[in-house]
């Protein structure tokens, strides 16, 4: 096992799990070209900005409110140079037009890549009301969509989601060409692994496990039968350049550790992590 992903005795200079996740998210946007990258949440915002500063400078990013940013400011900093205006009404235009890649959160994701952010339980009388479907139905049938799951667990990865907010490829095909034509569920990045939805019968498939994570640990943290290829590569480690950008430019305060704690590797059982 590599030293990456665990906190070594020297402390602060070790690559953390959060850094690995940021680089994996950046990789999800690497080949997108000149499109609007819409990250929802902290790690996705970090990963998108990292991609813009490294692998894909053509990405169009916003302040999450109504401005396109020409520069790449640190997380939650005010923009230096603005290059455009993107009020909510124009976001819907971009969604319908297509040049966009959104990375959303997911309270549940199922075996067929359907996502739920609406409510838990029965829709008519939910056990727990969440946000509502938000833009997930429109995003998933119009533009590239990825998901970020900071805590990979069987509570998130369920056999069937309670309410389908984001539409997976199988459901999209069943709904006809109007739904399937632009459906493109690209990546699911978690604190343990990188996955996609290109397994047999449009199911979730394991693409890589993060350094220090065992395939078995991912299986155990997934509440359905996960497609696992014979050889599972390890998620690449961030480059030295990326680590400098993450630590010194984009997130000097370490906000990323609120989503993926530095202690994360220690939460993995020793018999799993140590193999």
């Amino acid at each position: 096992m590599s030293s990456t992903g665990s906190t070594d005795s020297t402390g602060s200079t070790a690559t953390t799990r959060a850094d690995v996740c940021a680089a994996a998210i950046a990789d999800a946007f690497r080949d997108d070209g000149e499109i609007f990258a819409s990250p929802m949440g902290l790690l996705p915002m970090l990963g998108v900005r990292l991609a813009k500063l490294t692998s894909n400078p053509d990405l169009v990013i916003s302040d999450g409110e109504s401005l396109f940013l020409a520069g790449v400011p640190p997380l939650f900093a005010k923009a230096d140079v603005v290059e455009g205006w993107i009020p909510f009404r124009k976001v819907f235009d971009v969604v319908a037009h297509g040049p966009r890649h959104v990375m959303m959160g997911a309270t549940q994701v199922d075996r067929h890549g359907n996502q739920n952010i609406s409510a838990i339980g029965d829709w008519a009388r939910p056990k727990r009301q969440l946000l509502g479907s938000r833009g997930a139905p429109g995003n998933t049938v119009n533009n590239r969509t990825s998901y970020w799951v900071p805590k990979h667990s069987p509570r998130v990865f369920v056999e069937a989601v309670d309410i389908v907010s984001g539409v997976g490829p199988k459901r999209a095909k069943e709904a006809g060409p109007g739904a399937a034509r632009y459906n493109d569920i690209h990546r699911i990045v978690t604190n343990l692994a990188v996955l996609d939805v290109r397994g047999a019968d449009d199911t979730v498939r394991l693409l890589s496990v993060h350094p220090g994570v065992d395939v078995e640990a991912v299986r155990e943290a997934t509440g359905f039968e996960l497609e696992v290829p014979a050889e599972v590569p390890t998620t690449r480690e961030p480059t030295a350049e990326e680590l400098v950008i993450i630590r010194e430019v984009l997130d000097p305060k370490g906000l990323r550790f609120k989503e993926v704690p530095q202690e994360a590797p220690h939460e993995v059982p020793q018999e799993v992590a140590g193999r």
Partner: protein, 297 residues
Amino acid sequence: MTKGPRDKRMSIDEVVGELRDGMTIGIGGWGPRRKPMALVRAILRSDLKDLTIVSWGGADVGLLARAGKIRKLVFAFVSLDSVPLEPNFQRARQDGTIPELVELDEGMFQTGLNAAAQRLPFLPMRAGLGSDVLVNQPWISTVTSPYAAADGTHEELVAVPALHLDVALVHLNRADKHGNATYLGPDPYFDDLFCMAADRAFVSCEQVVDTAGLTVDTPVQRLLLSRMLVDGVVETPNGAHFTTCTPDYERDERFQRAYAAAAGGSAEDWAAFEQRFLSGDEDAYQAAVAAFAEEGK
């Protein structure tokens, strides 16, 4: 001599006096941003009931739900942003106290308002296909294109129904007494669309200025509302509180946290919040808010 257009200035209570039980009311703004909260608070104080509320929801929906004013809610989300889940809305959903719900994708919501604004029964859209929005709203139908795509297929799309409103309530930064109004913040949201989708529209604003004042220090493109779309104008300083009204003021995060804590707390917590902030008129609310801000210093 010409008399000029009508003077549409009204009081908050006169606006509420125009509302009736069972009406469909669209509330402008977005989530916790530039909501016509003074008008929402006035509805809370009224006897109005059985309302259909159409809103990209924030505390407007939470407060009206907690007060039992909503018979039917049309929504895509309800959120306070910095507090992601609206506790009063959550409670209402989990207790089943809103009899009828229409949950849409947030873009479908815009399309529904557009259809109403254009006096069309529906508009086609991709959003919703394959999702449970259509499963949970079986009355929303699809429509097949009469035109063949390049591959010879005829696309089947969602026929988003028009979201026709009896009344729209919106809050902007400045208006003149005739109903021309500007937003000064970064986003117009959809307040013009709410007004166009409604039979009648009432705009509250931070300040009523004379018509020339509307463009004296801001571009003409910010004139979102024309008086053709507006039936009444109310001056309600701090009237979007505790939501944003950029650049006049930002969201009152401390107050919002207190609201969320009370809403998510015990019945006694909520009763205390109501007693302190919602038991009097708008002036009493603003005085209580000012006292609360003073405590935080």
